[in-house]
């Protein structure tokens, strides 16, 4: 059956021992937009992204990506997706070019040198291509990780805190690049972030998580208006401080 959504999550649950890290959530992401998973620490964002990638098996519920069951068609779907996170890394002793080459072959790119040149140019990495990844600055590493996540020109890009621990200039550069990539490629981006200004700038939809449950969702402007607050950060704080289960 054809689907109108790139991601459709239904009744998704992950239980670790007695803790429900993700507790029966439902949400969907439209094609060609940037959406965000928001929530405080321990809300279930990273757990949800890990399940969307198949790195973590759900306790129950379903995940459909591009209309197909993620658990059954994982590798076929991973070919069309990519991921970046500050919590995973690349081999430090390999140069940037070597790292990108290895991943290019894993994604079976047709013309590896050309793609690496193209991304290096777009992400201002040409000067560091032959330097060991471990010797780069945090900003350069973030751009390399972004290049890795764009090697296969993914139709769906999952980003966990894409600008965490970056200086404002580099963070702005990354946001600008993502905006441009989304606009020119028509890709769908789902990101988890604690930076509300970033989410307001990049995202057309947000899903608010709290203690493993979806507590609200919608466009940032609509959420701000619904809560009668000034910006998304105030909405975030309002939801985080409300008693459990209460929503607007």
């Amino acid at each position: 059956m054809a689907s109108d959504h790139v991601i459709e999550v239904s009744g998704l649950t992950k239980i670790f021992g007695s803790l429900a890290a993700v507790d029966g959530i439902d949400f969907a992401v439209r094609p060609g937009v940037t959406s965000a998973l928001l929530g405080g620490n321990g809300a279930g964002k990273t757990t949800t992204i890990a399940m969307l990638l198949g790195l973590l098996l759900p306790t129950s519920g379903s995940i459909r990506i591009f209309g197909e069951d993620m658990l059954r068609q994982r590798y076929k779907l991973l070919h069309r997706m990519n991921f970046s996170s500050p919590y995973v890394d690349l081999p430090h002793r390999l140069t940037v070019r070597q790292n990108l080459s290895v991943y290019s072959h894993l994604y079976r790119l047709r013309d590896v040198p050309r793609r690496i040149r193209q991304l290096a140019s777009e992400l201002d990495l040409a000067a560091v291509l032959d330097r060991p990844y471990g010797k780069l600055s945090a900003g350069q590493k973030t751009r390399v990780a972004l290049a890795k996540s764009l090697l296969n020109a993914p139709e769906l890009l999952l980003l966990d805190e894409p600008t965490a621990s970056l200086d404002p200039d580099t963070a702005d550069y990354v946001r600008g690049y993502l905006e441009n990539y989304q606009r020119t490629s028509g890709a769908t981006i789902l990101l988890a972030s604690h930076n509300m200004a970033e989410v307001e700038r990049l995202c057309s939809d947000v899903v608010m998580l709290k203690r493993g449950k979806v507590v609200d969702s919608g466009a940032p402007d609509a959420l701000i208006a619904r809560y009668g607050l000034k910006n998304l950060e105030e909405v975030f704080i309002d939801i985080a401080r409300r008693p459990h289960e209460a929503t607007a």
Binding site: K14, F16, T46, T47, A50, L53, G54, L55, L56, L57, Y75, K76, L78, H79, R80, M81, N82, F83, S85, Y87, V88, D89, L90, P91, H92, R93, L94, T95, Q98, S101, V102, Y103, S104, H105, L106, Y107, R108, L109, R110, D111, R115, P132, K148, N152, A153, E155
Partner: protein
């Protein structure tokens, strides 16, 4: 599907090659890693070589076949280097916190297993092969003169090492780098039972069936038959081979089982101690 990538396939030699390439890049960038590959096999070989020189003049057992200790040392290192090769290559991905990236790519776990086996083979050939070459000028002993049986001994030992290496890698994946010391010690539990330096008949009767359940016991018994009696005992080699088939299937199944467990517990994204 965009034009940048080729269609996905369920088994890709190119992906396996990419993983091998990743570790060759690592070896090329780190001479201490290459030195470590050949250092211990060579030190072991030199030590046992001098012991052999001494015992050849003072022991009728060694005098009958002067290469028995050196061959045993070199072949034991095939088992050890093969096993540690798998475990270390896998742990490199954990040290570099790279597993999360690898397993959100289309890399299948069985392709990862293939790359581990290939890297283990390469590392063992460099390490033990280097030591075997050094033995020629040092002790006038050329293990390659064993001929075709050497290939059978080597294959049996490397396959057994893969099975144990995959078991160890699986344990480290499941229980974290806190379990990495198992990689260094696991194989030595089998050394007394493998009859590396003495016949299995030396072991107590109740322990001998356990020893014969190891492919390595058949290999080292076969080695002694070849050196002392100049006969190739095909039964021993075939026994080692079929036991190895069971070991390897078990090793792969356990690794994939631990991989599944790691996905259930979310360990691939948060590796460490």
């Amino acid at each position: 599907m965009n034009g940048i990538i080729q269609p996905d396939v369920p088994f890709s030699p190119r992906r396996i090659g990419a993983m091998v390439l990743r570790h060759i890049y690592l070896l090329r960038a780190s001479w201490p890693r290459v030195l470590e590959l050949i250092y211990w096999p060579t030190v072991q070989m030199v030590l046992w070589g001098f012991i052999t020189v001494f015992l050849a003049q003072n022991s009728s057992y060694i005098a009958q076949a002067t290469g028995v200790l050196l061959s045993a040392v070199l072949l034991w290192d095939v088992l050890f280097r093969g096993q540690i090769g798998i475990a270390l290559v896998f742990m490199e991905e954990m040290y570099s916190r790279n597993l999360g990236h690898l397993f959100v790519s289309p890399l299948r776990p069985y392709e990862m297993v293939c790359s581990l086996l290939l890297m283990s083979l390469l590392r063992t050939l460099i390490g033990v092969g280097g030591a075997a070459l050094v033995a020629i000028p040092f002790f006038d002993y050329n293990i390659f003169e064993l001929g075709l049986p050497l290939i059978a001994f080597f294959l049996n030992l490397i396959v057994m090492s893969w099975a144990i290496g995959l078991l160890v890698a699986g344990i480290v994946m499941r229980y974290g780098l806190g379990a990495e010391s198992i990689a260094w010690v696991a194989i030595f539990a089998l050394q007394p039972l493998s009859g590396v330096y003495y016949p299995i008949s030396v072991l107590p009767g109740w322990l001998q069936p356990v020893a014969w359940a190891l492919p390595s016991s058949h290999v080292f018994e076969g080695l002694r038959e070849l050196l002392f009696h100049q006969t190739v005992n095909a039964t021993l080699l075939l026994n080692a081979a079929w036991i190895n088939v069971i070991y390897l299937i078990g090793g792969i199944a356990i690794f994939l089982g631990f991989f599944h467990a790691a996905r259930q517990k979310g360990l691939l994204l948060h590796v460490g101690e």
